[in-house]
Symmetry: C2
Subunit: 107 residues, 2 copies
């Protein structure tokens, strides 16, 4: 993939957007965990919760990769999954936002 440059200000905006998306996904995961735990009183609910958390942890560890070399792959995924809006990425630079918008329009 093409290389993008990141000014100090853009890096700061990128970090904030990244953290915001992660916080939202963790909040949703917590709500799902509570739903699994409280949605059923059978004994297996605990292990269903464990399976859910195992999958979610692996997914989040893999997805939230904050390296500038891959961030322009990470952000489109976070947008497409609904964890961040393109508007909230304005600070990362107009050129990069354009690329993300183009990627989104191709879906």
């Amino acid at each position: 993939m093409r290389e993008f440059t990141w000014s100090a200000t853009e890096k700061k905006a990128a970090r904030a957007a990244f953290d915001l998306a992660l916080a939202r996904e963790l909040k949703a995961a917590r709500q799902e965990a509570e739903a699994i735990l409280h949605g059923s009183s059978d004994d297996r609910a605990l292990w269903r919760l464990h399976d859910y958390l195992s999958d979610k942890r692996r997914e989040i560890d893999q997805k939230y990769d904050y390296r500038y070399s891959v961030l322009m792959l990470v952000f489109p995924r976070l947008v497409s999954e609904g964890w961040i809006k393109v508007d909230e990425l304005a600070g990362i630079g107009a050129e990069k936002v354009d690329v993300i918008n183009k990627l989104m329009s191709l879906r």
Copy 2:
């Protein structure tokens, strides 16, 4: 270890006691899971919960081994950990209960 014989009635009592201990331990694990989830709002609570469930699942899978060849190792452990009382094991046979009582007195 010495071999024990199990009559049909004793097997039934053993199964009921085993299941009772497991149900109690799962109930306690569920309460602990809820405490972890609700005790903290920080992002890492979800992964602490995952770690707790990973350990507990491994422990329970290993501990609750219902084979008659090992049950007289399993029951003393369940008694010592408080998941079942010796009184509740009465149905497995006086000789076996004596052995468990002797093991408990040695602790």
